[in-house]
C-alpha cells in the first residue's frame, strides 16, 4: 500500500493506482475529459492528451496529469492550487478556442462533457477569439452517424473503441499538429470506409463530434400525416434503458410506460420487435438444426458453426473484413427486418393498408439499424420494409418534446398481433440471449422433449468470449458467444484456422449486446449501468408466461395463416437475406 496526501487528506491506495483514482477514493473529483475507464470492458483509455486533469505534485517541475500519473509513497498532491486552477482554465480556454460556440443548437447540449467541464471550471470568456484560427473539416453524413470534426477535441476515445475494442479500424488519428483529427482513411466518407456503424464511437464521444443521424423531425411530420398509417416496433434493449433518460435508476424496466408514451405520440399500432425475435428463432433455429443434422449424418460440405445474424454491426463487420466466410452466418434476417417484412405484407393485408401508406418505424438501441433498414435487400420496389429507425436517445428526446410526463405514465400493453412475445424474444437484448433463445427452441425440436428448466445461466455474463456445451439429449452441442467485434474477430480467426469446434456462435457488436448499443442513453463511462440493464432484461424474461419462441401463439398463427413452415419458400423470400462482399466496394474511393 502507498500512502500519500491529496489536498491535505491522507490517502492509502494500492501500488499502481493513479492520482485520479486515489483522489476519487477520498471524494475529490478531479475533472477529466479525454480519460475514459470502461472497467467492465477491460478498457482504460488514458492518453493523457487533454491536460484538464493536471494537478500539482510537490517537488515536481511541471504539473502532472492525474489520470495517468501513478502515486508514489509520500507524494503530496494539490488538486486546486492557484497554479493548477490557472493552468486548467487556460487549457480549457484553449480547447474552447478551437471549438464551435453553438451550444444552443448543438445536439449534445445538456449532455456534453466539454460543456459540463466548462461549467465546472466557471469559464466565462474565451480570449482572443478574433485572431484564433479554428481547425475545420468537412461534415460527413452517413446513413447512421454524422461526423462533425469541428467539434472534435482529440480525446481519441472513438479511436480506441474503433481499433482496440472493435478492431474495425475505420478511424485513426490523421494529420499532425493543429489539424490533427480522428478520421477514416483519406478523410473519406464513413460510408465508404470499413465502418460497421456499431456506434461505439458515438457512445463515448464527449462532444457532438460524433452523433447519430436524427430522424425525429421526420417522424413528427409522418405522424401528423393523415394519409399514413404509422406503426412502431421497439427492440428489447430499449425498455431496459429508456428510463435512464428520465432520471430513473439504471435497470428500471419501463416497458408499459414506453408503450403508453408511444401511443400518446400518435402511433397507430405499437408493436414489439420481440415478436420478430421469436420469428428469428424459428428461422435461425431451423437453419441450425438443418445444418446440424446434415453434419451429424457426415455431410462434409455443411458449414458449421452457424453464426447469428441479428446484429447489423456484426453483419457489416464480416461483410467487409471476413469476405471469405460469407457463407457461414445464418441467412436469417434480423428481427427488425423480419418485423418490417411481415408488417408490410401480412399485417398490411390484415388492416387493408397499401404498402406505401404504411410507415414502419423502429425504436432501436442501435445506430447500425439506421443503415440496415436502408439496404437494398430490404426494399420492395424502392419501398423499405422498415422506413427508418430511431434510437433510444431520440425517442427520449421526442417524449420530452411532446410534454409527456414519462415517469407518471400508466403502463400500457402492446397491440396484437405483432406485439406478443415470449421471454426468449426479450433476452435478445443481452449478450448470449439470442443463442439461449435458440437453444430453448432447438433443444425441444431436436430432442422432441420438453425442457425442464429454460434458464441457461452458463450462456449469460459479461465475459467477452464465453463458451458452453449443452447436452441435446446425448449430443453435445458446443456454443460460443462473443460481444464486441474485437472478440468476434478472435473467434472468426480461430474458425478460419480450423481450430474451432463450435456448432453455433452468437455474436453481438456492442459490449453487453444490444443493451450497450450505440443508440442507448450515454453511460459516460459507467459500465456498471450495462450490467443493470442486463439484469432488467432477464427479469422481464422471468416474468413472461411463455418463455420459448415456438410457443408464442401469434408466431404459430403467423405460420399457419401466412408463412407455412420455417424455411418455406415464402419464409425464405421474406425472412432471409444474402451477404455481399463489401471489400470490393471499399477498395475504390
Amino acid at each position: 500500500m502507498i500512502k500519500l496526501t491529496i489536498d491535505n487528506k491522507i490517502v492509502e491506495v494500492e501500488k499502481g493506482t493513479t492520482i485520479y483514482k486515489a483522489a476519487k477514493k477520498v471524494g475529490i473529483d478531479i475533472p477529466v475529459l479525454c480519460y475514459m475507464d470502461l472497467a467492465d470492458l477491460g478498457i482504460e483509455h488514458k492518453p493523457g492528451g487533454c491536460r484538464i486533469c493536471v494537478v500539482e505534485v510537490e517537488g515536481r517541475r511541471n504539473l502532472a496529469p492525474s489520470c495517468s500519473t501513478e502515486v508514489t509513497e509520500g507524494m503530496v498532491v494539490n488538486t486546486h492550487s492557484i497554479r493548477v486552477l490557472n493552468a486548467r482554465r487556460i487549457v480549457m480556454e484553449l480547447i474552447l478556442s478551437d471549438h464551435p460556440k453553438e451550444c444552443l443548437v448543438c445536439p449534445k447540449s445538456g449532455n456534453c462533457e466539454l460543456q459540463s467541464i466548462a461549467i465546472k471550471l466557471g469559464i466565462r470568456d474565451i480570449p482572443y477569439q478574433e485572431i484564433s484560427e479554428m481547425s475545420t473539416y468537412r461534415v460527413d453524413f452517413s446513413p447512421s452517424i454524422i461526423r462533425n470534426m469541428d467539434k472534435c477535441i482529440m480525446c481519441r476515445r472513438c479511436e480506441t473503441m474503433c481499433n482496440e475494442f472493435q478492431t474495425v479500424g475505420a478511424l485513426s488519428a490523421v494529420n499532425r499538429g493543429f489539424m490533427s483529427v480522428v478520421a477514416p482513411a483519406f478523410e473519406m466518407d464513413l460510408e465508404d470506409s470499413v465502418c460497421t456503424y456499431c456506434g461505439q464511437c458515438v457512445a463515448v464521444c464527449p462532444t457532438a463530434a460524433l452523433t447519430e443521424v436524427d430522424h425525429t423531425n421526420k417522424l413528427i411530420r409522418d405522424l401528423a400525416n393523415p394519409n399514413k398509417t404509422v406503426i412502431v416496433q421497439t427492440a428489447p434493449a430499449v425498455r431496459a434503458a429508456l428510463g435512464e433518460e428520465f432520471g430513473l435508476e439504471p435497470g428500471t424496466l419501463v416497458t408499459g410506460k414506453m408503450v403508453s408514451a408511444l401511443r400518446q405520440l400518435g402511433f397507430k399500432y405499437v408493436f414489439d420487435t420481440d415478436f420478430a425475435a421469436d420469428l428469428t428463432i424459428m428461422e435461425e433455429g431451423t437453419e441450425l438444426l438443418e445444418r446440424l443434422s446434415k453434419h451429424l449424418k457426415g455431410d462434409k460440405n455443411v458449414k458449421l458453426p452457424i453464426l447469428t445474424s441479428c446484429c447489423p454491426g456484426w453483419v457489416n463487420f464480416f461483410e467487409s473484413q471476413f469476405t471469405d466466410m460469407l457463407d457461414i452466418p445464418s441467412t436469417a434476417r434480423s428481427p427488425q427486418q423480419m418485423f418490417g417484412a411481415i408488417a408490410k405484407t401480412y399485417f398490411a393485408q390484415k388492416i387493408n393498408v397499401k404498402r406505401e401508406d404504411l410507415i414502419v418505424v423502429s425504436i432501436m438501441p442501435c445506430l447500425a439499424k439506421k443503415y440496415e433498414c436502408q439496404r437494398d435487400e430490404f426494399k420492395v420496389n424502392g419501398n423499405p420494409d422498415v422506413d427508418y429507425s430511431i434510437s433510444t436517445r431520440e425517442l427520449a428526446s421526442l417524449i420530452k418534446r411532446a410534454n409527456i410526463s414519462f415517469n407518471s405514465l400508466q403502463d400500457d400493453d402492446f397491440d396484437a398481433p405483432l406485439g406478443e412475445s415470449s421471454g426468449a424474444g426479450v433476452i435478445f437484448g443481452a449478450t448470449g440471449g439470442v443463442i439461449e433463445a435458440a437453444v430453448r427452441t432447438a433443444y425441444e425440436l431436436f430432442t422432441g422433449k420438453s425442457l425442464e428448466k429454460v434458464d441457461f445461466k452458463e450462456l449469460r455474463g459479461m465475459e467477452g468470449i464465453r463458451q458452453a456445451t449443452i447436452d441435446f439429449g446425448g449430443t453435445p452441442i458446443n456454443i460460443g458467444i462473443a460481444h464486441g467485434l474485437g472478440k468476434a474477430r478472435q473467434l472468426l480467426e480461430s474458425i478460419r484456422k480450423g481450430e474451432s469446434n463450435f456448432h453455433a456462435i452468437e455474436i453481438m457488436a456492442c459490449p453487453g449486446g444490444c443493451i450497450g448499443g450505440g443508440g442507448q442513453p450515454l453511460h459516460h463511462g459507467k459500465t456498471e449501468i450495462l450490467k443493470k440493464r442486463m439484469e432488467a432484461i432477464y427479469r422481464e424474461d422471468e416474468g413472461k408466461t411463455i418463455r420459448k419462441s415456438h410457443e408464442n401463439p401469434y408466431i404459430i398463427k403467423l405460420y399457419e395463416e401466412f408463412l407455412g413452415k420455417p424455411m418455406s419458400d415464402k419464409a425464405h423470400k421474406l425472412l432471409h437475406t444474402h451477404y455481399v462482399d463489401k471489400k470490393k466496394r471499399i477498395i475504390y474511393i
Binding site: G169, A170, A185, F186
Partner: protein, 161 residues
C-alpha cells in the same frame, strides 16, 4: 483529400506486394515499407496505400494516419524538378524566407503544390546540413548555396530550357 486518381497496373501492384514482402509484411516495418514504396512511385496515392494496408494487415485508416503524420510522405506527385528550400534556422537567419517568397511568386504556386505543367513543385525542408552555404535550395539532387532572391529566376530558367 487527394482528388488525383491513379489506376494501378498489375505490375505496379506486384511491385508493392514485393516491397511489403521484403519486410515480411511486418506491420512494425510500415514506415520502412512506405519509404521504399514512395521511392519507387515518387509519392503515395490512396490506391498504393490500400495495397500496402492489405499486404501488411494494417487498417487503411492507420496507414493514412502514418502517411499524414510524417512530412516526408506525400500523396501528391512532386514536380519533375522538385524545389526544396531549406528553412532551417541557419538558412532562415540568412534570408531563406525571401528566397521562398520569390520562388512562390515566380512559379505561382504554394508550398506543397506542383505547377500545372508538372514541372516544378515547391517544398520546404529543415536543414540539409549545408549551413555554411545558407540559404540553401535544392532542385532535385542539385544543391544551390548562398541563394539570393535575385538568383531565383536564373535557377528556374536552368530547368525551363
Amino acid at each position: 483529400m487527394s482528388n488525383i486518381k491513379v489506376e494501378l497496373k498489375k505490375n505496379q501492384v506486384d511491385k508493392i506486394k514485393e516491397i511489403c514482402k521484403s519486410f515480411n509484411n511486418n506491420p512494425g516495418e510500415l514506415i520502412n515499407a512506405l519509404h521504399k514504396v514512395q521511392s519507387t512511385f515518387g509519392y503515395l496515392p490512396a490506391e498504393v496505400q490500400e495495397v500496402v494496408s492489405q499486404e501488411m494487415d494494417v487498417p487503411l485508416s492507420k496507414v493514412y494516419g502514418v502517411v499524414t503524420f510524417y512530412s516526408f510522405f506525400s500523396m501528391i506527385p512532386k514536380g519533375k524538378y522538385p524545389i526544396s528550400i531549406c528553412t532551417g534556422t541557419a538558412c532562415y537567419v540568412r534570408g531563406a524566407e525571401t528566397v521562398l517568397q520569390e520562388f512562390k511568386k515566380e512559379l505561382g504556386i504554394e508550398v506543397g503544390e506542383t505547377t500545372a505543367d508538372g514541372k516544378f513543385s515547391i517544398g520546404c525542408l529543415r536543414c540539409v546540413g549545408a549551413c555554411g552555404l545558407a540559404p540553401v535550395v535544392m532542385v532535385g539532387e542539385k544543391t544551390y548555396g548562398r541563394v539570393s532572391p535575385e538568383m531565383v529566376k536564373d535557377i528556374i530558367k536552368e530547368y525551363n530550357e
